[in-house]
Every structure is written in structure tokens, then in C-alpha cells.
Amino acid sequence: MNYDIVNKLKILANAAKYDVSCSSSGSNRPNHSKGLGNTAPWGICHSFTEDGRCISLLKLMLTNFCIYDCAYCVNRKSNDIERATFSVNEVVELTIEFYRRNYIEGLFLSSGVLVNPDYTMERLIRIAKALRTKHNYHGYIHLKSIPGASADLHYQAGLYADRLSVNVEIATEQNLKMLAPDKNFQSIFHPMTAIKNQILVNKEEHRKFKHTPRFTPAGQSTQLIVGATPDDDQHILNLAENLYTTKYLKRVYYSGFIPVNPDDKRLPALKEPPLKRENRLYQADWLFRFYHFSIDEIVNNTHPNLDLEIDPKLSYALRNPWLYPVDINKADYQTLLRVPGIGVKSAKMIMVSRRYGRLTSLNLKKIGVVLKRAKYFITCNELKSPTVNELLPDKVKTIILNDNKPKRNQKSLYQQLRLFPLN
């Protein structure tokens, strides 16, 4: 541990930062054997960078040497950048020491492709194995599985890791091939399916024999780059839905494209990364996973892209005003979730609270409902404010957009009438 490692850490953390996944949740690895660490199912963030992202895991590349040449990647072989490779021991020691100081929740290890996929994958596994078996480490491990590595290696990786992930990156195969000539959909979806099947087999075995070792208990995730290709939101979200339902993915991450290789003609020149669009995609993703929406209701052929001005749920409500207003004291859980301004928590609180009596708007406010937005879409005991049907959707949109602005920029929507009109 000396100057060398300080420098390596800089290079290889820098190389890994464009992978957005950083969750440490979904795995339960209690510490029974007086070893180091435990993994809590809810995940813990330990710090936040200035870009507002959480740091939960020690996100590293094993190496940033790579034989591939993907247009969107900072580590592609044609880039002239400083390169480095960690040894197995270095990564293990960094992880253990950081973990003991409560800096991190675990390790997220990825790698450029050295020599061939199998060779690279095997080195990733060696690190995970050393942590688990030699150091009795129970923290979180997320391994990137290398497309093209053999099924046996994927199986081994899953025995030590909490989560495995293969990144799809580009939502259409044709565009993927254009930007990453060495990759195709088959090389990505093949390992994904293999891991999925193994997880299902393992779950079945675990049901029969309690002591079967767990296989990737936190499931698998993937990442899609947004804005590097002309694919619309409908396409991206449909792919995500497909991954959630057929590959049982735990998470799909959306990463706003950052032009790391500005000279590449195949990529669009962006002034700044499409952060708003990324944000809206996550909101749509949440609607699908936690709010019982189907992707078709959020984006469809008439509305292939998400509205950047307002969130997808509000935009859904304004497109379908005949579904409102919803009666807070009678509507079922699913219907409550579709009201803009009511989230999962407040919907649940409404469900339990109304058993004791009728709820009023004052109760709703205290429960945490955003009445500023919700009031156009609900009726409750006494609340009498104009609903979306009386005001018309466009008007509601203007009012809400105006409310969202900081006070000094707000325009009054109403003008005082002149007492003596001039003409």
C-alpha cells in the first residue's frame, strides 16, 4: 500500500463512475459466524457526491484495459488514457479496510475485458471468493458479469455475489451494433437468461433444503443509456418492462448520456446530459413497479415520449380526466395510487386511517399528501375545490406549473378588472 495504490484507485474509480448502479439492498446475509459485516435488506448509503448520487458501494474497475471499442465508453481501446490494473489482494484489502471504517456497504466490481471474457470473469470471481471464504466477509458484493463468459463461471460468480448485472446500454440492437461493433443482443441476453434460470432453480432448491447456498440473493440489474441514440421513451420503457417481466430483473437503471468521447461522429453532440429525461424515466419506472401502472398507460403510440415539464403520473391524470375525482374515503388502494400527489406511503396511511372514521383534507395534509397537486383529483369529506373536470386539464397544468416555480417567478393567473375600462 503506497503511492502506487493511491494512483491506481484514482484511475480505476474514475473509470467505473459511469455505471450508475449503486444499490446495496435486496440481500439478507446475516452474520452468524463472528465474521465481518452483515447485509441489511434495505441497503444503506454512506456518502453523497457533489452530483447528488449516493455512495453505497466501493465502485471499482479491476482494470480499465479493454479489447472492445464501444463508442459511448470512456475505457474503449482507441482512447489514449492512463491505464491500470488492480491485483486481487489490493481490491480485497481496500474493501475490508473501507468496510471496517463504515465508509461503504460493500464492493461493486466491474472490469474492462482483458485477453478474453473468461479470463476476466475468472479474476472477478477470485476476488469475491477471497472476500467470502478467506476473510469471512458478509458485506454486499455486486459483480458485473462479462458478456460472453462461460455459463460455469456465471454460476460460480453467483455463489459469492449478492447481485450480478449485465448492461444492455443501448435499447435497440441495430444502434448497439453501430456504437459497439463487438457486442450484440445475444451476447447480453444469453447470460441474463442463464442467471435468471439459475436463480429460479436455486429458489426451488432452497424451498426444499434450507441450507442450499444462496445464488445471487439480490437478483440482477442492468443499465440503459438514454440520449445517445434516437430511441424514444416508449421503446426504452417497453424494453424495461420486458426485462422486468421476462428476466425478473430487480432494477433497470437509466443513465443520461454523457459525451465522454466528444470526437466520435456516431454520437450526438449534447450541451449537457439529458438529466430531466432520465428523471422522468425513473418516475415512469416507479409507476410501473410500485403504482400498478402498465407501460401502455404511461407511453403509447400517441404519446411516445414522456412530458418533461410534468411527471408521468400527472400527465396520465390530465390525459384521462374522466377517471377523476377519486373519493378518498371510498376508493380502493390501486385507485388512490393513481392520484397525483398521493404516494405509496400516504396511500397506505389513508387505507389504515379511514377505518377509524372519515378523513378530511386537514387529515390528508398531515398524513403527507401533496394537496397542492392532489386537490384537483379528489373529493373527501368537505373539500370543495374545483376538480380537473371543472377546470379542464390544460388549466390545471398551467396552475401546477406556476405553483412549482419559485415564488418570485410566479405569475398571478388572475388580473384585477379595471373599474373604468378605457375603451
Partner: protein, 266 residues
């Protein structure tokens, strides 16, 4: 005016509430001996903590609501907010007097208040779990300190014990001047003198710091700086998630350093 004075402990508070029920007196205020100021016109009741009374009331609450609800009340007590005693009294009274379990009736003010306070405690204790930074000392003890808004250290001990069962550690509350020490066998409550630890910054004295400590702090700071994506800079969210009052304990934020850097730029 009826004034109940208890001995600052949770047992004492529940005993006070029990006494009030038993004597059929409606207290107007309940204060701990620490924050007690003599009031000429009040009828004072000095409560003698009685574990039997505590157990009795505790079990009634548990039967009428749930174990989880008992934890809620305990967390609310740890908040040490002014007037929390009366809030707890009102809440317990509501539980005891109502036939049904009202712990989830958020349309009742007393329920919502306690619930919101215990949520704050939950968040604060989670922040401690997130932002605790251990420094390794020469005798292989990992030390971390903080000054949380509420008295949440007791809520975090189990987490640290489960996680760091194979290392000695200390978590210390510099505001309330007490902490917990785990010696590989059990967790004990301790107090520490000021001479080896700076209570302002939470930093351990140079001469008892482990030789490797500086290197790992530096590595961590390096990692923190490298993982940041400049194109996505968003200081508003950053400040929201990482409140400034924790910065002084975080090697990656190294407040002193940042501060002087900014001064140079100016």
C-alpha cells in the same frame, strides 16, 4: 396546576404516567429533574421510579396495541424534545382508554404527533448509521463520534454490534457525553475524557492513531473525488442528502481543507 417531576429515565416517565392514572389527576406538565424549574403555584408530585409500575403499564400498552408501538413510544422519549412527556402522556392515555387499538389512527392528533416524532428519530439514527466514520487507534479500537440532534445512539448499537462483531469499537455522542464500547464480548456504556479526543471535530489524537489510518482516509478521499461526475453537478441534492452538520466527521468532506481551499480561490 399539577406538575409531575420524574428522574429523566424512561422507566421514571412511565411510572409518572402510571401514578397520574392511579391518582386520577390530570397532569399539566411533566418534567425531568434536569429541566425542572420551581413553580410557586404548582402542586408538585415527585415521582419515585418503580419498575413494577413501569412493567405493568408497559404490558398494558403492549396488550392494547403492539410491541412495535412500545418501540414507538420509547423512540419518542429519546427525542428529548420539550413537552414530549405530555405528548407521550396523551398518547398512552388514549391507548389505555380506548377499547380498540388506535395506534394506526392517524386522524387523531396524539397518534400522528408521536408517529411523526418517532419517524424523525428513525431518520436521525439512520443518518448516524450512514455517516459514522470509524478511526482506527493504536490498540485496534475503531472509534467514531457524532453529535446527533436526538439521543439516538442507543438505537444504533445493535446495528454496529451485528456488523462489526469481530472488531472492538466505540460510538460516542459528544453532545450528551456518553457512548458505547464493544470489547469483542459485550457492549458497555462509557464516558471518555477530553484529553485524547477533540469533541469539536470528533478526531482522535494523532499519537494514538493507527499508522495505517491516514493512508486509508486519504484513499477514501481520493475515491470520493474520483467517483464524482462533474457534468452532473447538483449541489442542491448533495446538500439535501448530506447535511452540513455531518461534514466535520467525514474524511471525504474534510471541512478544514475545503474551507481553506475556498479561501484561496477568493
Amino acid at each position: 396546576m399539577n406538575l409531575f417531576i420524574y428522574d429523566q429515565t424512561f422507566e421514571g416517565l412511565l411510572t409518572a404516567i402510571f401514578d397520574a392514572f392511579e391518582m386520577k389527576i390530570n397532569p399539566d406538565r411533566m418534567v425531568s429533574t434536569k429541566s425542572f424549574q420551581d413553580d410557586l403555584f404548582a402542586t408538585k408530585y415527585e415521582v419515585i421510579t418503580d419498575t413494577d409500575k413501569f412493567d405493568k403499564l408497559w404490558n398494558i400498552i403492549k396488550d392494547k396495541s403492539s410491541e412495535q408501538n412500545c418501540q414507538r413510544i420509547f423512540k419518542a422519549y429519546l427525542s428529548e424534545l420539550p413537552g414530549i412527556e405530555m405528548m407521550i402522556y396523551n398518547y398512552v392515555k388514549l391507548i389505555v382508554e380506548t377499547d380498540d387499538n388506535i395506534e394506526l389512527d392517524f386522524s387523531q392528533d396524539a397518534v400522528l404527533k408521536i408517529n411523526n416524532i418517532q419517524k424523525k428519530l428513525g431518520r436521525e439514527s439512520h443518518r448516524v448509521i450512514m455517516f459514522a466514520r470509524f478511526q482506527k487507534t493504536v490498540d485496534n479500537i475503531f472509534y467514531a463520534s457524532f453529535d446527533p440532534k436526538y439521543n439516538v445512539i442507543p438505537l444504533t448499537v445493535n446495528h454496529f454490534k451485528r456488523r462489526f462483531i469481530d472488531q472492538k469499537w466505540i460510538v460516542f455522542d459528544t453532545r450528551r457525553k456518553y457512548g458505547f464500547y464493544y470489547d469483542l464480548q459485550q457492549v458497555r456504556e462509557i464516558t471518555i475524557g477530553k484529553n485524547k479526543i477533540n469533541f469539536e471535530t470528533g478526531k482522535v489524537d494523532q499519537d494514538i492513531l493507527h499508522v495505517s489510518e491516514k493512508l486509508f482516509q486519504k484513499l477514501w478521499k481520493n475515491y470520493y473525488d474520483s467517483i464524482n461526475i462533474k457534468e452532473r453537478k447538483n449541489l442542491k441534492v448533495h446538500m439535501q442528502f448530506l447535511p452540513k452538520r455531518f461534514w466535520k466527521y467525514l474524511p471525504e468532506k474534510d471541512y478544514q481543507n475545503n474551507f481553506s481551499k475556498r479561501a484561496i480561490i477568493k
